[in-house]
Symmetry: C2
Subunit: 141 residues, 2 copies
Amino acid sequence: MVAARIPDRMTSQGRRLTRQRVIVAEALASAKRALSAQELYERIQANHPTVGRATVYRALEAQVQDGMASRFERDGHVSAYIACDAEHHHHLVCTHCQRVEDLDETAVAPLLASVGRRHEFQVDHAALDFYGLCRSCRRKR
Amino acid sequence: MVAARIPDRMTSQGRRLTRQRVIVAEALASAKRALSAQELYERIQANHPTVGRATVYRALEAQVQDGMASRFERDGHVSAYIACDAEHHHHLVCTHCQRVEDLDETAVAPLLASVGRRHEFQVDHAALDFYGLCRSCRRKR
DNA sequence: GCCAAGATGAGACTCAGTGTCAAATTGGTC
DNA sequence: GACCAATTTGACACTGAGTCTCATCTTGGC
């Protein structure tokens, strides 16, 4: 089960396991969709009104570093976050309901390999996310 | 020559061809690297001090819509822009010198096709940019 | 040249995200 | 369990990219 490994990841790099970071991680994981830091903060406020806004931002940043979440850009220059259980995951983001599907890494690998081969470029990281309408949102239109 | 088509693109959707938008387009095209709106504004100031900041932002937005430029996110939540001469171009961005290489579209197409097939997802647009060090920056390290 | 629709420039405004700092918490160590 | 240094937190001030407003100016069709 993936959840069992979460505390390990959260304490990587000498990071301490705090109540607040657990709250943020759980809130993001249970959302099952992309949320901005502000939206997540507001959700957390409902049950944990003492958790500060800056703490949510810091916790999200830590989660991204620890490979527990990924960040991408939503329209309007806002970052959105989604919980994920492996590193280097890429996503299909529904721009209507904000639900996120994982993209099969095996489909991505050939592209990454070909880029390394064809361009003398040391790829550090890739923004590789697709935006559009998921099946159920497409039907509703 | 591609440049000849620029006025056509700039007047799409009933948009008017203004002196300022030409200045912005030329400044971005001649930069040959990714620039933030602010950086571009500052460059333009040198030769055209009357062009306003908001105008540069608006012109860049229009260029992205018209497929004359693409936008991606730089660290620090800032948009950067690069001129491009075809639609749906994806890029290799050097995070050190900000130079940009075009990514061969034929390498990308299989991925796009497989996403459409494997996920019932109507892809609207894709963030598909690679960040890293270009050859010359890599050598300098 | 005329004129309506659209664009511009100046600057106020917004708000996501960051920095600061005193107080609180964590997790080794004894 | 108590102690303590290092880290984290919460509150809030601050920053700055990007947007909005509005009076004025341009564009382009007639």
